[in-house]
Amino acid sequence: MTVEAGLFALILAAMLALLQALALPAAHLLRRPGIAGAIPAAAAAQALAMLAAMAALIHAFVVSDFSVRVVYENSHTAKPMLYKVAAAWGHHEGSLLLWATLLSLFGGLTAFWRQGLPAAMRLRVLAVQGILSFGVLAFVVITSNPFDRLIPAPMEGRGLNPLLQDPGLAFHPPLLYVGSVGVSVAFAFAIAALWRGELGPGWARAVRFWTLIAWIFLTVGISLGSAWAYAELGWGGWWFWDPVENSALMPWLTATALVHAVRGIEKKGGLEGWVVLLAILGFGFSLLGMFLVRSGVLTSVHAFAADPLRGVFILGLFAAIEGGALTLYALRGHRLAGRVAFAPFSRDGALLLNTVLLTVACGVVLFGTVYPLLAESLGLGRISVGAPFFDATVLPLMAPVVALMALGPLMTGGRDSLKRLAPSIGIVAACGGVGAGLGLIWSGAAAAGFGLAAAACGGVGLALWNARRRWTRRRTGMAFAHLGLAVALVGITGGSQMAAEAIARLPVGGAVELAGRSFGLVEVREVPGPNYIAMRGTISVTGAPDLTPEIRRYETPPQTTTEAAIRSTLGGDTYAVIGDPSPDGTVVRVFVKPLLPWLWAGSALMAMGGALALASGIPLTRRRG
């Protein structure tokens, strides 16, 4: 019964979304403004209906109702409860339902956001969200109904893939979804602004608030995903420039640019057209990501199985939403052009330049991601664009971004002069020089990475010092986020430029030397697990506890997984994996990744900074005026 109720709630939500989308034009046409008053209620009801639908699907997984096709295909009674729940979104239909639920939820929450927004703007924002929800819900109902029944019901499910049973894999996709769906709010605000022909009061504040939420979730989701790949895939890498990773990175880059650009117009206006465009592009990248993951046009380790019909539908949806938005922008974008002039050499100027650089970097990521399609269409053969391309293009573009991030907050809001700024530049450059000097011990790239990180730290410290009398939550948030990026950069640089690895086939008792330490294979023995048998290697490390990587063999379904052993300290990671034991020894692969844990710490700092800045956007006490 709950399954039918779920399907009913899903269809109800689609109807409510349609109502939400059409009420405003209807009110206008029938000259009955009262009709539009139903819009916020419809948005809230739609969110509740979708929560009910999602709850019904999760319930079906929890009770292992194998009469539901997706449960049969993706779950199993022997699965631990955590993974039964996570299996609810671990496949195409369920993940799409989650996506749609989050979209409705954001729509419902925006209905409660008043914050000085005129009614005309609020209703338009909700109407746009109604259109988005209806499109996605139609896609769910028509091509990917998660509540499909199987008759007769099977006794047991088929989904017991042990490789996919990992807490990181269970929870990073939903976080990423919250982030990429969250960008839709800014999109709705952008379209509403184009529709009205002006931004009006309260617009920038709302866009900043919702985009920051999305940005925080994207930051956390991307770092958790990377941490999962690092710990679980056993390659010692954490970012592969895989199309699916890129499709999470692109909304993150645009959301970062948007959060910064909107700050400029919040105070005095100026870049309205650019901000609106960024908001449109941000959600466009989210949709593109969804399309790339689900249509199977690109090769990726994360892709869902291809289904051309779904691909066509989703492409149509993408074309309609993004094409419509950009057409509207082309026709009316110039009306939003700022009336306030700003000085190029100023804090706002630096901010603008950074948003441009971030957007261009995003464009490069997009180009690299779809280049294989372009090459094949042009008959250049099957090509894959990998890490070398992205490293050679994106990193040089991000270097000035970090430098500007260090200097920008030190500049004045109005027109600044080089003379006034010179001492600050001197201090930041000195910090950078120290970092770069240290980095030179390893490589030029390490010098660049550590130099930029040190310069950024110097800039953040100096900005905090300058603002010591005007301390605000927002400033602290910014300092945290910028510091987080610097710390993450230290981790990235150390983990790649100072890293070393060794691989050897060792007999028990043998050892391999790496980075001045000896890694000895003490023993390899069978250890039974709850539903697998593990081959556990014990590897002694000079001056540190033993590492115990495993190979796990599962019986049903037959599958082998590698469990890396990672020991993290502030100074870095030691990481070991073992291969199949054989009579002439066991393959042991060890990595030393200095400073890599700083990457995770830096990401956490960034997210915390975002949260602090977010808190400054919520009026905890009602202000006068």
Partner: protein
Amino acid sequence: MIGRWTTWAPLLAFAILLGLVATRIGKTEPPLPSPLVGKPLPEFALQRLDGQGTLTPEAFKGRAVVLNVFGSWCVACIEEHPVLLEASKSAEIVGIAWRDDPVRTEEWLDRRGNPYSVVGLDPDSRAAIDLGVTGAPESFVIAPDGRVALKITGIITPEIWRNQVAPLLERLK
């Protein structure tokens, strides 16, 4: 002026991207080719359901047969079952009961009819791994010389039997 046409640039870029992606859609390949096709059937030795020794590929050497992987837990197999029952009047079908309890298999066949000339038990996927079985049902058409002539993933529908399996068996005889 400058502003007037720059607002069109994003739309233009988007149209190019869309055109590019649209040309690629649906060109991806359906999954599941089998590397086994054309190769000899992997060796296996399975307990027979009737308890009379083991089932090996030797048992049907020299005859064209259909090897069907099924299980009493498998819903799709129920759907496939009538097709196999009908087909078993004119062809030999060998069953592999995969990841199943012999008692349940027995019961299942009693209730629905038995299309198989012989059934081998593969509770721990020994043969299934070698055969590259990803799910049930899956079927292999085996030529008299022991080579795999065709692999069918999923249900053998009456159409598939009529258009692919039956003509192939006829040719192999």
